[in-house]
Subunit: 94 residues, 7 copies
């Protein structure tokens, strides 16, 4: 992947599953709830805490749960990614 | 359990008891007060305080009282959990 | 007592005295001013200040004056308690 | 005095002087400006600054000028006191 | 002078000059701009920065420029003074 | 380049590409989305973290993604630049 | 110059150029954009960062770009100056 996030930031690909109502109707994009799961594609060099660089807990390849509405959407080569801070990551799914 | 919360976060299962009014009527979900008790299912690696990682006071299995409306609800494999920060935990019930 | 408050928190029992108007009428609950005195039932393990755990100044059994409206009310075994932070304690009555 | 304020707090007695308009009329209580002078009755154990307990600059018996509207009024044995933080004290009158 | 300001505070006397419009009319008090110059009458014991007491840069007798609307007006023995924090002092006029 | 940004600031040239709608119409300036990519032209001397100057992660020549609406536009010799803080830089495109 | 700014403050003279519209009309003062360039006339003794006085990066004589609307206007001997904090200085023009 050709983006290097800065500091305590990570780049993720949002994991979406096809959403169907009970009656089987595929919901158009705007009716779906904002997704909360993603896969980590790149991680920054670490967070500076009290003058020391601490590597991130999150690794490339982790599946994560993140805060709704967190982060900034970016489009690179027609692909959409989300850049989050590690503090927006709630948990890693194992 | 297959979620690993990050940093000073914990994953809890909210403890609900069936709620009846004095007249014996079971209240539907929306009329109940938001619950404040939970059981800890997973704890993060610790809180960073002045550059040092301090393990959490809360342990897996603890029954806790937490601030109303705190945390983020997540649904994993059709089960609902709550991800809190340790600072939202008021006390441990012994 | 079977609640262990976390960190710099304490559990108190609010001290209420029967309130009468000058004419001798006992005031119903909603007309009384919010109480400001309590007795400490349990104290947390201490406050972390600059990376060091400092034991609380408040001890179990102390009668305290606390900020109006501070803290969170909890009900355990049908008893009502108040969980405060030590910083909400204004003074100890000796 | 039987109140021990916590940390960087002090207990003062507000100094009021009888207020007369130029025409000699004694003003009722609500028309007077909120007082800004007080006498220190009790001081806390000190302020914690960068992990060290620093004794307060204000001593028992000092006459002080304090910020209008600062502090919390408390009534103990039918006497009214004011609990302030040392940071609400502007100056000591010598 | 008989006021000792606390910490990083100073006591100043506001320097006002008679203000005339171009046509020579002396403006009444409410039409004048709030003054921004003062003379320092007393200084506090210093500012605590990272646990160390640092003496103030401003000295008694300095003429200073201060932020409009900063500080608290106090009246002592019918004289009006202004108590400022050193951080409200913009510059010293030499 | 003849601007030296201060501290943790950087000077960038915003990278714009000609924007066409699907029907081939060139959009006038106000209809385009605010750009998010830029090239770094100058970097400050570093960020002060806990009393130590830490050189910036971003280097002259880097292509970066930055937060929408971040920074201050400046015009020097009829050229428009953007001055950002490094914290507004989300990622470096490699 | 006879003003000594305090701490991390600087005194600048705003650099204005005569502004003409394309049609050659000289714009009156209120129609001009607020200027963003200035020359440094005096600098403070330095910024205190983590307990140590760090000299300012900006020197007397520097031409600077500063944040629009930053600082406080002062008038000394009928000359108008602007007192800024160094953090309001975006860059030095070389």
């Amino acid at each position: 992947m050709n983006i290097k996030p800065l500091g305590d930031r990570i780049v993720i690909k949002v994991l979406e599953k096809e959403e169907r109502t009970k009656g089987g109707i595929v919901l158009p994009d705007t009716a779906k709830e904002k997704p909360q799961k993603g896969e980590v594609l790149a991680v920054g060099s670490g967070e500076i805490i009290d003058g020391q660089k601490v590597p991130l807990e999150v690794k490339v390849g982790d599946k994560i749960i993140f805060s709704k509405y967190a982060g900034t959407e970016v489009k690179i080569d027609d692909e959409e990614y989300l850049i989050l801070r590690q503090s927006d990551v709630l948990a890693i799914i194992q």
